[in-house]
Symmetry: C2
Subunit: 387 residues, 2 copies
Amino acid sequence: MVSIRARAASPAAERYQRPVLHQQQHNLVISLDGMGGDHAPAIVVEGAHLARRQFPSARFLIFGDEAQIAPLLSQYPGLADVMEIRHTPDRVTAEDKPAQVLRTGRNSSMRLAIDAVAKGEADCVVSAGNTGALMAMAKFSLKVMPGIDRPAIATYMPTRIEGRGTVLLDLGANAECDPNNLLEFAVLGAVFSREILGVAQPNIGILNIGSEAMKGSELVKESAELFAKAKLPGTYKGFAEGDDISTGAFDVVVTDGFTGNVTLKAIEGTAKLIKYMIKEALQSSWLVKVGLLLALPGLLLCYRPMKNVSKRIDPRYYNGASLLGLKGLCIKSHGGTDGVGFANAIGVAAGLAAKKFNQKVEAELQRLGAEALRPAAAPARLAGEEG
Amino acid sequence: MVSIRARAASPAAERYQRPVLHQQQHNLVISLDGMGGDHAPAIVVEGAHLARRQFPSARFLIFGDEAQIAPLLSQYPGLADVMEIRHTPDRVTAEDKPAQVLRTGRNSSMRLAIDAVAKGEADCVVSAGNTGALMAMAKFSLKVMPGIDRPAIATYMPTRIEGRGTVLLDLGANAECDPNNLLEFAVLGAVFSREILGVAQPNIGILNIGSEAMKGSELVKESAELFAKAKLPGTYKGFAEGDDISTGAFDVVVTDGFTGNVTLKAIEGTAKLIKYMIKEALQSSWLVKVGLLLALPGLLLCYRPMKNVSKRIDPRYYNGASLLGLKGLCIKSHGGTDGVGFANAIGVAAGLAAKKFNQKVEAELQRLGAEALRPAAAPARLAGEEG
């Protein structure tokens, strides 16, 4: 182990000797889709640079157009020493359909970045590209984890309690779900909450339109029965309503991908609306501008806490949705984010890898029992309904 | 008509002569559940007082405990002259189940307030009580409008465009819906947008997890096909995503009651979260308080536009969810609102009544054709699936 660390101390030399190989060192290797998203590859490279502050020993494999990426690397001192460019001219666009990309995108930066995880060259992959394509390729290349029927997309949302985020999933991978899917999401979300957000015993809720047992769709009613009996890695607290996501009362909120996606975007839209209205008001007249100028010395004293609020609701600091339930770790960054946001997505990826997230999930699934997740009774019940 | 107006000028005299009778005057009569919600009857009476500024000729029937209501009336000059108390000791509580209330709540303030509309004594009813009970009783007493399969709950949300709200429905009356339900919601929402919000040709969207045709659940895909063919009272613009609700790009966004309820509460929760964080930050230290004091003269110049922002996202000014698709007009106020919020709910009720909302909806349904709403083909398709 000592010799490995010693070698890592001279990463530049290592880079030109051979590709970054995960197996030969204990440092994290992060695979990056260098061409995904609106502002790639610039934000990808900047994000890697920023992420190094938190993960100084991380190394990167970046897939994309070398002619674009190489000059960017030189802007950040030392980055070239820990980042290997794998020249990949092909890329997945925002318009590409998932099914088509599976056939034609085998040499795209997104696919090769995922494949690096599948081959064991990297611990995790981060892409700001097309979500549908990423999910399809990741499922194909990384494969679904045993015991999981449907992988889910998860993120954590700000709450009233500083430093305590609520994990919300699924955010759109599965528009239609069954109760067992939601149970699997609960396991994935609870392990995320515990390992990444540090909540020892996460409170788990099922998103619903009321807190009483009789409320809601058949899906949530049946799920509630299943959850009450299951040995979840956390505490099942019953139904959560839409406004419970932001109070901190629940650490994990599970829902189908349709509701989750709409909810996430509605929350983002509301935060943007308020920011827009405040900005508009502060630019509305000369009087206001003079007022702000007069208020400036006093406002400077309020700068830190107000900046903190702005940071707490800044989507960049929540960027990085995790595709959970796959055999490899894959993180989706928002397509329109900047370097700070992309660095946060890398942080999520590195956190999942460092905490051996998938091993923890597998242990929980085993504890819960595959039986509980996919009971053999389910088809029988359906047959009974027909008769 | 002149004589009616002359009589209305002396409402006190009229009140003691006979009950307020809608048929005998052109003034609006609003029926109020005096005992619904957390702060009834105080906010109900205050709300009526405040609503009179906008609707000076409105008259009120209030159902509830006379001993509690009468002393409140005397606090607002002139209110007793236009408000008749119908003593009703029974009330529906927040815990009451809809089915049970239908049997046992026949003499509750909520039920009798609704019945006043059914009997033609009032033009509309407003209650801050239990939503499920209100919907159940309103459906039972007022009956569903011909051509409507399922009534829906609708409200309008703030957008980036000042004065232009987006109508969102269903907000929870129907956890599970079919495409025809969504089409009916579109008619109800579009007439609301046109008549109440003044949008001549409303843009209509179906809430979905992406804007491409292939995205989403079976419900939204089938609905999209139906919408594209229907002669809606507005323009069908395709799929709306969660963050489109707040941009003003859509005037009407339709969805099932599960998604709508969760979305509405998530939006409310986000606005509350941001307000909470800002308040917390401004009280976080002495330094901040000193800063605010120093900034005060300058901030006073910014007061009006900032106050305006606060008002634009204040849920009280969006209070009053409409139960649409019933033969009578029924408005649900938020249970925890104050007098200002309740006044806004009365305003929505009065607006719908003044604009003859239900007549306009009936005309649109006729134009659209009952055929389009409930095609005879639907059962055939289901039968085909079995074979």
